[in-house]
C-alpha cells in the first residue's frame, strides 16, 4: 500500500476507533515523532534557539570575545544615524524593486514562448532553468566577475565595435546593475512555475475569444494575465522575500566588502561585516531583526494588495 492510501485509510477510520485502534494510533504517532525527531531537533537547535539568542543579542553590546552586555534599545537607535546602513537599505531596495519585476517579466516572457508548444520543449526548459540552479552559486558569481571585468568578455566584445566599456562590476555606477543582471538571469525557477500556471488555463477561453475576434494581445491582457495572477502573486512573494536576503552574489562579486564605494553593500552584507569583521555582533543581530521586520511588512503589503488584483477562478 502506498503511503498516501495508508494515510487516507487512517483518516477515514478516525472517529469510530476502537481502544485497540487508538493504541495503534498512539504507536503510529510515536513512530512519526521519532522519525520527525532529527528535523525537530534541527528546528529547535539550529533555527529557533539561535533566533531567540539573536533576539537577546540585539539588545546587547556583544563583541564575540567577551560576554554580551545589556544595552536596551541602543543598537536600534544607533541605526538611525548610521549613514552606511541607510545606504545599504537603498542598495537593497533598488535590488529588490528593480531586480524582481525584471526577473519576473523575463520569466513570464520566456514561459509564454515555451508554452507555444515548441519542438524539443523539455530541452529548452532545462536549458533555461539551468541558470537558476547555478546563479546563486559561488562559481557563477566568480564567473560573472570575469565576464564583466575591465578586460572581461563583455568589454572584449564591445572593443570589437570600438567601444571602451567600463569596469562593469568595479565601477560604482554600474556595479549594482551587474548584480541585478545576474539576478534576472536566474529566471528559471519562476519560469517553470509560470509554465505550469499557463498549462492550467483552459483552452476554451482562448477558443471563445478567437471566435469573438480578440487579438493575441487582447487575449493576453483579458485571459492570460488574470488567470495567471495567483501564480504571479506567488512568484512575487517568493522572489521579494528571497531578494531581500541575497548575500552570496554581492559577497563574491565585491570580494566581501560591498565595494566599490559601498555601491553593492547589501543589507545582509553590511550585517555580516558588522558582526564578523567589526566585532559588533549585537548590532548585527539587531539588523537581522530589522530585516525580518522589513520582509514581514512587505509580505503583508503584498497580501493586502493582492485582494485588488489577484483573480481566483473559483
Amino acid at each position: 500500500m502506498s503511503a498516501i492510501s495508508e494515510l487516507s485509510s487512517i483518516t477515514r477510520r478516525k472517529g469510530k476507533a476502537t481502544a485497540e485502534e487508538k493504541k495503534a494510533n498512539k504507536r503510529d504517532n510515536k513512530a512519526a515523532y521519532i522519525f520527525l525527531l532529527p528535523w525537530l531537533v534541527g528546528l529547535g537547535a539550529i533555527t529557533i534557539g539561535p533566533m531567540l539568542m539573536s533576539l537577546y543579542l540585539s539588545f546587547t553590546d556583544y563583541n564575540l570575545l567577551q560576554p554580551p552586555e545589556w544595552t536596551g534599545l541602543h543598537n536600534f537607535t544607533r541605526m538611525l544615524s548610521d549613514a552606511r546602513l541607510h545606504n545599504s537599505l537603498r542598495v537593497t531596495f533598488t535590488y529588490v524593486f528593480v531586480g524582481v519585476p525584471l526577473q519576473l517579466g523575463v520569466a513570464l516572457l520566456i514561459a509564454l514562448v515555451l508554452d507555444k508548444g515548441l519542438r524539443g520543449l523539455p530541452f529548452y526548459r532545462s536549458v533555461f532553468y539551468l541558470p537558476s540552479l547555478l546563479g546563486g552559486s559561488v562559481a557563477v558569481a566568480i564567473l560573472w566577475k570575469q565576464i564583466f571585468g575591465t578586460t572581461g568578455l563583455v568589454n572584449q566584445v564591445l572593443a570589437m565595435f570600438g567601444i571602451q566599456g567600463p569596469g562593469w562590476i568595479s565601477d560604482p555606477s554600474t556595479a549594482l546593475g551587474s548584480i541585478i543582471l545576474l539576478h534576472v538571469w536566474t529566471f528559471g525557477a519562476p519560469m517553470i512555475i509560470f509554465l505550469a500556471g499557463l498549462r492550467q488555463i483552459p483552452n476554451m477561453y482562448y477558443e471563445a475569444a478567437k471566435v469573438d475576434g480578440a487579438s493575441t494581445l487582447q487575449q493576453f491582457w483579458r485571459i492570460t494575465l488574470p488567470m495567471l495572477s495567483p501564480i504571479i502573486f506567488f512568484n512575487l512573494v517568493l522572489q521579494i522575500i528571497g531578494s531581500f536576503q541575497s548575500f552570496t552574489q554581492a559577497f563574491i562579486v565585491s570580494g566581501g566588502n560591498g565595494g566599490p564605494s559601498d555601491s553593492t553593500m547589501f543589507f545582509t552584507l553590511y550585517l555580516y561585516q558588522k558582526g564578523f569583521g567589526q566585532f559588533d555582533m549585537g548590532y548585527a543581530s539587531a539588523m537581522a531583526w530589522v530585516l525580518l521586520l522589513i520582509i514581514g511588512v512587505f509580505t503583508a503589503i503584498n497580501f493586502i494588495a493582492s485582494k485588488y488584483w489577484v483573480f481566483y477562478d473559483d
Binding site: S170, P172, G259, F276, G277, F279
Partner: protein
C-alpha cells in the same frame, strides 16, 4: 547554498589530505558524536574540546593566512617539530587573508579557537585586550635572542601576547622587465622624491603597451599612508590609542594619488578596485602589468616566484630626496599568539618556542614571514637562504640606520581602518568625493572605529 563561503575551509581540506586518513576519520566520528551530544543537551555552544588520545599524544591546531609558498614552508617546519616531539601533533588550518579574520572571530566566539594563531598587529590589541590571547611570558619560551623592538611589539596590557615571527619593512617593489621594456631606467631609491615617483611611473605607462602602468595605486592599506604621514611629521596612531593625523593630512595623500591617476601613472579606478581583490600571485606586479607596487618586504620572494623574474626592492620616495627621511620602521610581520583557552598551553608554548628559537624551524621557514627576529637563527640560516630571501635580508640591514621612531601600536578597532581607507580611496579615484571631503569623512569614521 553556503551562506558564508570561505576559501579557508577548502584550503583546510587540502591541508588535511596528506595526513593519515584513519586518524581523520576517527576525529570526524568523534566530532559527530560530540555534536550529537551537544544537540541532545540542547546547548547552544558545543565545546571545542582538544582531543588527547589514549596514548598521550596531544593535537594542537595551528592557523595562519598566506599563499601556497607559505603553506609549503610551514608544513615543513611542522614536520620538523613533530619529528622532535612525537607526542604532539600539529594540525594546520590556513587560508587567504580575506577570510582569515572572519573565521578567527567566529571560532573564538564559539570557544573553538585554534591553539596557535598567526596574529597581525592590526588585531592583536583587539584580541589581547579582550582576554582571548595567552600571556606567553608565563610559559617556557626563550626570548633572550629576539630583536628588542620586535619583542616589544608583542607586549601589551595583558602581557606578552604575541611573539614576532619576522621583521618587515614597507617597500616599493619594482619589476625591472617592465622598466626595460619601456626604456625607463630604474630610479636611485636613496635620492628619489614623490615627484620623481609620479614622473617615472607616468613615463612607463606612456611607453608601455596598453594595460601596463608605471605603478600600482597606493591607498589600499594603511602601510603606505603610515609612511606618508611619518614623512610629514605625523603618524597613524598616537601612543594613547588615538589617530595621529588631521583630515587635511590624509586629504593631501589622496590629492597626490588623484594627480597620479590623472597622469595615468597608476591604473584606472576600475582596475584599482579589481586589483584589490586579486591574490598576491595575480597582482599587477606579479603579472607584469605594473612597474612598481607597494608591498611588505617579506612578500618579495613570493612575488618573485609568481612573476617568474627578478624584482628589485626600493625604499619609499621622500619629500626631500634624502634616504634619511624615508621614515621607515621595522614592523613585526606577524605574531605567534596562543588562544587563552587552549587546553594545552605547555605544548602550545613549546611549539611557539620551536618556531622562534630552533634553527630547524628557521631552515624551513626561511624569510617568508620576514627576517628572523632571533639573531642566532638568522645567522645560522644565512647560507640556506634563496637569492630572493638574501635580497630581503640585505634590504632590512641596509635601512637600519635610516629608520624612524617605532610607531605606536594600532589600538583596538584598528582592524577596520584598512577597509575605510580602501573605500574612500575608490571614492576619490572615481571622483565621487574630493580629497578634502574624503579626508574629513574618513577621519570621522576612523575615529569612531577606534574609540568604541
Amino acid at each position: 547554498m553556503p551562506l558564508f563561503p570561505r576559501p579557508a575551509s577548502a584550503a583546510q581540506q587540502n591541508a588535511g589530505a596528506p595526513t593519515s586518513g584513519a586518524s581523520r576519520r576517527n576525529r570526524k566520528a568523534g566530532a559527530v558524536a560530540a555534536a550529537v551530544a551537544a544537540v541532545m543537551a540542547l546547548s547552544a555552544c558545543g565545546g571545542g574540546a582538544a582531543p588527547q588520545n589514549a596514548d598521550g599524544t596531544v593535537e594542537l591546531r595551528f592557523s595562519w593566512w598566506g599563499g601556497d609558498k607559505r603553506a609549503q614552508l610551514t608544513q615543513e617546519a611542522i614536520k620538523q617539530f613533530e619529528a622532535e616531539n612525537p607526542k604532539i601533533k600539529i594540525k594546520p588550518e590556513f587560508g587567504d587573508w580575506s577570510g582569515y579574520w572572519d573565521k578567527l572571530a567566529t571560532q573564538v566566539a564559539a570557544n573553538d579557537a585554534p591553539d596557535i594563531i598567526q596574529m597581525d598587529e592590526k588585531y592583536i590589541t583587539e584580541y589581547s585586550s579582550r582576554g582571548a590571547l595567552l600571556d606567553l611570558s608565563k610559559y617556557d619560551i626563550d626570548t633572550s635572542k629576539l630583536d628588542e623592538a620586535a619583542l616589544n611589539a608583542g607586549k601589551g596590557q595583558k602581557g606578552l601576547t604575541g611573539i614576532a615571527a619576522g621583521i618587515n619593512a614597507a617597500t616599493i617593489l619594482a619589476n625591472p622587465k617592465v622598466f626595460e621594456a619601456a626604456g625607463v631606467p630604474l630610479p636611485d631609491d636613496t635620492k628619489w622624491t614623490w615627484d620623481d615617483f609620479g614622473r617615472i611611473a607616468s613615463e612607463i605607462t606612456a611607453k608601455s603597451p596598453k594595460g601596463t602602468y608605471g605603478a600600482a595605486a597606493y591607498g589600499t592599506d594603511e602601510a603606505s599612508l603610515g609612511v606618508w604621514l611619518r614623512q610629514n611629521g605625523k603618524s597613524l596612531y598616537t601612543s594613547d590609542g588615538k589617530l595621529g593625523f588631521e583630515p587635511s593630512d590624509v586629504a593631501e595623500w589622496w590629492a597626490f594619488l588623484k594627480q597620479l591617476s590623472q597622469k595615468k601613472a597608476v591604473p584606472s579606478a576600475s582596475e584599482v578596485v579589481e586589483a584589490e581583490a586579486a591574490p598576491l600571485d595575480q597582482s599587477g606586479l606579479a603579472t607584469g602589468k605594473n612597474g612598481m607596487a607597494f608591498w611588505w618586504s617579506n612578500q618579495a620572494p613570493a612575488l618573485e616566484k609568481a612573476s617568474g623574474g627578478d624584482l628589485k626592492i626600493l625604499r619609499f620616495p621622500t619629500k626631500t630626496g634624502k634616504a634619511a627621511d624615508t621614515e621607515l620602521w621595522y614592523k613585526a610581520s606577524q605574531f605567534w599568539s596562543a588562544s587563552s583557552r587552549t587546553k594545552h598551553p605547555q605544548e602550545t608554548a613549546k611549539f611557539i618556542n620551536f618556531l622562534t628559537n630552533n634553527v630547524k624551524a628557521g631552515e624551513a621557514l626561511l624569510a617568508d614571514r620576514g627576517v628572523y627576529p632571533n639573531s642566532d637563527v638568522r645567522a645560522a640560516i644565512q647560507p640556506k637562504l634563496t637569492p630572493a630571501d638574501v635580497k630581503v635580508v640585505n634590504f632590512i640591514d641596509q635601512i637600519k640606520d635610516e629608520l624612524g621612531e617605532a610607531p605606536a601600536p594600532p589600538p583596538k578597532g584598528a582592524g577596520a581602518i584598512q577597509e575605510i581607507i580602501k573605500r574612500y580611496t575608490s571614492e576619490v579615484l572615481f571622483e565621487r568625493l574630493s580629497p578634502v571631503d574624503a579626508g574629513k569623512k574618513a577621519t570621522d569614521e576612523m575615529k569612531s572605529a577606534i574609540s568604541s
